[in-house]
């Protein structure tokens, strides 16, 4: 149990949870509008790469973040274009985006920087310090010193909740995700709303990706998102497609990941701990303990000619 009181575990938990939480919140905006988004992984990876490219070429990490977000949003546009106007299967297009991101970033990494990795003088985003928090036992260090993007998660979470549940736009987005035909008969622009949801998912997945490459590090390595986009999707589902739930699930899954890292070299298998997020998600979807319910039209094709 000494492992649970080790501050290192909690520092890692926050660091592991942040990208999962951004990814899950991003996925939420897409799926609440009815577009299944398994492309979070690919968007994250794309942003992680281009954040380094822009941070290095401008020597400004904030422009790096912006570049990463823009690249991720472009991937989101690709997802939207195929999934909504072209009525392609959301899951398959998401897989295409993931594969494309894996290939493009790996390919460009080699063609732009050779086999020695990204430049070592790439700037990274600032780390914030709150020394007065570090006195708290066990979790103090985890709260006192993190990347600026980790602290930014709190206002982003509140804004996500407010946007989704307290603004007309949020209500409209959710109605499109539940039943696009009724939404359209009420005069809403179904495609516009779906697009806005997918674009926000691109922005947030972009932040998650930049966090990986220039938030906690200052470099990009091939496939550095390493399945975090899929864990984010699991957190979104486990959190029942709600901002607070998704963030708590992200913390839980981040904790599992951190625990697995801390358990390396001990008698308990870290791999078995890593299975937990996925198994918990299956249990949640199956309704064995509580039940999660996706937006009713999530993933369904929307054709205007089928309006009633």
């Amino acid at each position: 149990m000494a492992i649970l009181t080790n501050p290192e575990l909690w520092v890692l938990t926050v660091a592991m949870s942040v990208p999962i939480a951004y990814g899950a919140l991003g996925g939420m905006f897409s799926e609440r509008g009815g577009t299944v988004n398994i492309a979070i992984e690919g968007m994250m990876l794309t942003s992680a790469f281009f954040a380094v490219v822009f941070a290095h070429s401008t020597m400004n990490p904030w422009l790096g973040l912006l570049g990463g977000i823009v690249s991720s949003v472009l991937m989101a546009v690709l997802l939207y274009w195929a999934a909504v106007p072209l009525v392609a299967d959301h899951v398959v297009v998401g897989m295409a985006v993931d594969l494309l991101a894996l290939g493009l970033t790996g390919y460009l990494l080699v063609t732009m920087y050779g086999y020695n990795g990204t430049p070592i003088n790439t700037p990274s985003l600032p780390t914030w310090h709150f020394p007065w928090l570090s006195g708290i036992p066990v979790i103090g260090p985890a709260l006192a010193e993190q990347s600026v993007l980790a602290y930014l998660l709190i206002p982003v979470l509140l804004a996500s909740w407010y946007l989704l549940f307290r603004t007309p736009w949020g209500l409209r987005l959710r109605s499109v995700g539940e039943n696009p035909h009724i939404a359209r008969s009420a005069g809403l622009s179904v495609r516009g709303l779906k697009l806005s949801g997918v674009l926000i998912s691109g922005v947030l997945a972009g932040v998650a990706g930049a966090y990986l490459s220039i938030g906690v590090l200052n470099s990009f390595t091939a496939d550095m998102s390493d399945g975090r986009g899929y864990i984010a999707l699991a957190a979104l589902i486990f959190g029942n497609w709600r901002p607070g739930g998704a963030t708590l699930a992200a913390l839980l899954f981040g904790f599992a990941t951190a625990l697995s890292i801390q358990l390396q070299g001990t008698a308990i298998s870290h791999n078995l701990v890593l299975m937990l997020p996925y198994l918990l998600t299956v249990v949640a979807v199956a309704g064995i303990i509580g039940r999660t319910t996706p937006p009713a039209s999530d993933g369904l094709p929307y054709r205007e000619e089928e309006d009633f």
Binding site: L78, L100, A101, L104, T111
Partner: protein, 363 residues
């Protein structure tokens, strides 16, 4: 009508692949690689000589076997995206059998290992089937999540679990000789597993087109309500559809162990389970069409390795091409839109192709 739809079934995937090649050529030119050199070294890397062709066939085996199983499952309208995990589970089970029972004769030991892989793959895919049939849990989520859990379990098995061989490299004990198929083409890893794979393809096609079960699967896919009215048991078909695709994936995992690696280790898979989904989709879920489709992706894999060695072109380029193929296969309504002239201003309309499509639309 029938000829029209079968022509369409051939032409549309071909156009999707062509579009992917055109767009990837643009990417190559932007990054100062000649598409001509890339494609010629890809092709010669995949088919240029007997050893290269042998290596392509080695990759063809798992892609085709899983692709046929997935095609069967997708025909029912169920989307199993966890083939990767089922492939891993098949590999574990085969390894469990393969490293033990060293006293068995070769054929029996190999058959036993493959059977273990097949059963294990089917069992793990049956879980999402049961959860879908009786709890309404969406199979896309459950197959995906179980797949990642299975892969972590595989890491556990080779790192610290019962199959792990002590030492610094995470890997299992090697297979007994009696469970290891030897190469039939020297200098390649191509073994008699290819014949098992071909038999599996024929079996998959027979199951889908010549049995009551296959008919039920097709009816379920076309119209679940009609299936219910016709007295078919939707829960049973759901569970069978998923577990049969899992059985094929498990068999593929077993074949990989018995025929190629003779040992379980982390990097054995190359994400074939995900690629196999695309193989099935490109084949439009027709088991026979899985053959050319799997061959294309196998060539992209093995050709890319050779391309990196001979021409110094990054192997990742192959993923770009694969991703674009998936994209254009999924978004094949793009073709209809292009015919209607809606997207004509876009650059991806290869001119020689459009008249053929227009003719098809008119005819």
């Amino acid at each position: 009508m029938r000829t029209r739809s079968s022509i369409e079934g051939v032409v549309r995937p071909l156009i999707s692949v062509l579009l992917a090649l055109v767009v990837s050529s643009v990417i190559m030119m932007l990054t100062h690689y000649s598409p001509l050199i890339v494609f010629s070294s890809l092709i010669s890397g995949a088919f240029g000589n007997l050893p290269n062709f042998g290596s392509t066939l080695v990759d063809f085996i798992p892609l085709a076997v899983m692709g046929v199983g997935l095609a069967f499952c997708f025909q029912s309208g169920l989307f199993n995206i966890g083939a990767e995990g089922q492939y891993w589970v098949g590999a574990f089970a085969a390894t469990l059998v393969g490293v033990h029972f060293a006293s068995l004769p070769l054929v029996i030991h190999v058959a036993f290992a493959l059977l273990a892989g097949t059963v294990a793959g089917a069992a793990v895919a049956a879980v999402p089937g049961v959860l879908k049939a009786y709890r309404g849990a969406h199979e896309v989520i459950t197959t995906m999540m179980l797949s990642y859990a299975a892969i972590e379990f595989g890491h556990y098995l080779v790192e610290s679990g019962p199959l792990s061989q002590p030492g610094s490299i995470p890997q299992s004990y090697p297979f007994a000789n009696s469970a290891s198929l030897q190469p039939i083409i020297p200098t390649t890893q191509l073994s008699a597993a290819i014949f098992v794979a071909l038999a599996a393809i024929v079996f998959g096609a027979w199951l889908l087109y010549r049995t009551r079960l296959g008919l039920g699967i097709q009816i379920l896919g076309k119209n679940p309500k009609a299936a219910r009215v016709a007295g078919l048991s939707v829960p049973v078909l759901t569970i069978l559809g998923l577990s049969i695709s899992g059985a094929f994936a498990g068999l593929a995992g077993g074949l990989q162990m018995v025929g190629v690696t003779h040992q379980l280790f982390d990097g054995f898979s190359d994400q074939f389970g995900f690629t196999a989904i695309v193989v099935a989709l490109l084949a439009r879920n027709n088991p026979w069409a899985v053959v050319p489709s799997a061959m294309l992706f196998a060539a992209l894999y093995s050709g890319a390795q050779a391309m990196q060695i001979t021409a110094g072109i990054p192997v990742e380029l192959s993923f770009v091409i694969q991703g674009l193929i998936v994209f254009f296969v999924a978004a094949d309504r793009l073709l209809d839109a292009a015919v209607r002239g809606k997207w004509l201003q876009r650059p991806q309309g290869p001119k020689p192709v459009k008249p053929a499509l227009e003719a098809k639309e008119v005819g």
